[in-house]
Symmetry: C2
């Protein structure tokens, strides 16, 4: 029966629980009342009664919001609205072992896109000190064996993100590292572009933004060549 097949395909998605509903309602409530971080929230019993659920269900929903950093609770003070750490929540599910292959590939590409687009920020904010640091990283890599070379590679590109002057971007990169690593180690032989790290440093010192963009493109070319 087609209907039977359908139900078999659709049913397992899971069932919606009270905690799910309460979570959404709490979100709406917080938004509608336009609480500001630090504002005190009603007590658990009041919320539970208002929502018509047990304190147990309410606490499951609150536990989620607390995990996301949207609320903080203290023993007697009650609950207060807080600023969630948007990247911290992201990090919780970013495990290469759990993510499916297609998404892994997508994230790998996402990182390539980011690095290609970094140039504009870097050229707005780079300092001589940054470049000196970057150069010292690049110099170290000359005589390193393979495992240390990977760490150095990470340090170099990490420094580039840092030079963007964008903390969120930098943290985002750190977060994506395991995934980048994972995909890279799946590749057979190490990819090596025509432009290496020292070349990039030289460009940063004396070259134009356009030069740097071209250099980065050449540096990452082996990765892009793999895509289809």
């Amino acid at each position: 029966m087609a209907i039977n097949d359908l139900s078999k395909d659709l049913a397992p998605i899971a069932s919606i629980t009270m905690a799910d509903v309460v979570e959404v309602k709490l979100r709406e409530y917080l938004k509608k009342k336009s609480f500001l971080p630090g504002d005190a929230l009603p007590k658990e019993l009041e919320l539970a009664e208002a929502l018509g659920v047990s304190r147990n269900v309410l606490r499951e929903a609150l536990s989620r919001l607390r995990m996301l950093g949207m609320i903080e609770t203290k023993k007697k003070r009650g609950m207060v609205l807080a600023r969630p750490d948007i990247l911290g929540t992201f990090e919780r599910v970013l495990d290469p072992l759990i993510i499916d292959k297609e998404t892994l590939q997508d994230i790998f590409e996402l990182r390539l896109v980011l690095e290609m687009g970094l140039a504009d920020l870097i050229y707005i904010r780079k300092t001589d000190k940054d470049i000196a640091e970057l150069e010292s990283i690049a110099k170290k890599e000359v005589n390193l064996d393979n495992s240390f070379r990977i760490k150095n590679e990470i340090a170099f590109h990490g420094k580039l993100y840092e030079m963007s002057g964008n903390d969120t971007l930098k943290r985002f990169q750190i977060m994506l590292l395991p995934i980048f690593d994972y995909v890279v180690t799946l590749e057979k032989k190490p990819t090596r572009g025509k432009i290496n790290h020292m070349d990039l440093v030289q460009i940063l010192k004396t070259g134009s933004k356009a030069d740097f963009k071209k250099g980065m493109e050449a540096h990452l070319k082996p990765h892009f060549d793999r895509l289809k």
Copy 2:
């Protein structure tokens, strides 16, 4: 007293609860046992007993993992490991009203970086059909009033992301839209680059990837000029 000040600054961060600990322990457990999506997990009572906590605390932790999509539960079947929707969890905390100003600015820049870096993927995967769609979007915008123009702007750039052939990237962009909007509406006068949407379409039709990168740079230049 210095010590008193310190404790006042540090203590309010919140206190760690059993649910927090259990959440971490469950994470480690799932990773260590290297469960695969679809694998059945022990029952709640067994887990609670093994961890030495009440079923209540355990369920608060499970509720968090369930929200992240890491596990799914069915009435009698028990719990199974699932693939979390990495972006879905991200979306939950991405509210312009809650995020602090610095992070908002960071995310705004992140989106600029993404758009500048899109060219390589687009030139690998663009099709004539894509370009035709993009053109029809660009054509519509000629005689639109302001509110519709914003929607059209979104549609145009959204289509660019779509042309990257990267679903995760596309969803990511959709997710960042409210924030982009929010920051843009804070600006006084509408920014208008020297290269408009129709120009970009023309480049995509006949120009090189380098041309397109330059075009995009000119198109977004007003945004970058604001940065410091």
